[in-house]
Symmetry: C2
Amino acid sequence: MIYSIGELSKMTQCKIPTIRYYEGIGVLQKAMRSTGNQRQYSQAHCDRLHLICHSRALGFSLEEIKQLIELQGGQFNSGQKSHDIVQSHLTDIRNKITQLKKLERELLTIVEQCHQSQTSDCLCVSALK
Amino acid sequence: MIYSIGELSKMTQCKIPTIRYYEGIGVLQKAMRSTGNQRQYSQAHCDRLHLICHSRALGFSLEEIKQLIELQGGQFNSGQKSHDIVQSHLTDIRNKITQLKKLERELLTIVEQCHQSQTSDCLCVSALK
DNA sequence: CTTGAACCTCTAGTGACTAGAGCTTGTAGA
DNA sequence: TCTACAAGCTCTAGTCACTAGAGGTTCAAG
């Protein structure tokens, strides 16, 4: 099967300009072209794009995704390296959660102080100082 | 007291180019200038910059911070509006935490599958598909 | 053969900075 | 007073991951 960019876009939920962008930076393989210069995609392109979109949704950067894909192609110790990338990403996410929970507590304090002061002027902004 | 940009930078932990950038986009008041065109800051600048840095650390965008500062200066119902901005930011943060926890679970699954397969080739990348 | 949807390339904009070039000013010591 | 050199200045361009728009071409249906 051969797909147009519009069909690929529908199948992957990835926007058309984004697909072209991914090709431009080399994270997605170059598409074949029709006689009229329009892009043509194979199932391999579709699989790769799914992997990219899913990884992006998991918060990986395009640079990390590129590495992951390259490592997958190689043979020497690639499993360990991929594993490290995923593991360190997991650590990042956990740190972010911790950080956000701190922010949540701080903002909650601000909002609560705000409710207590019955004046029309809330002290949110002063509290931020 | 009058401060140079370097002194202000040290006091606030905000990098020099960032201070100039904040002035450029109008979130920090314009600095006075010495005869030799170098920036001079007052305590008011310092207070404002502290507010900006703290708010950024809490995850507010510069646009939100701008609004917050403008509302603080105004009088009509500004308390309510500031409050709304802070409240909606709090909601955003909670959504982000939920989202990240989902990612954490998914990545954890991937890493665990990886540990179980005893082959040298880890399946992280395939798992991402 | 015509119409209109889908495609093409290229440039520029987003947010929040950061880096670098190339120049000027301020300050401390001789 | 002179000399270093640290610190400051402006301006442009780059980062990431797209998105928007202009202006042109190709494809498919009627």
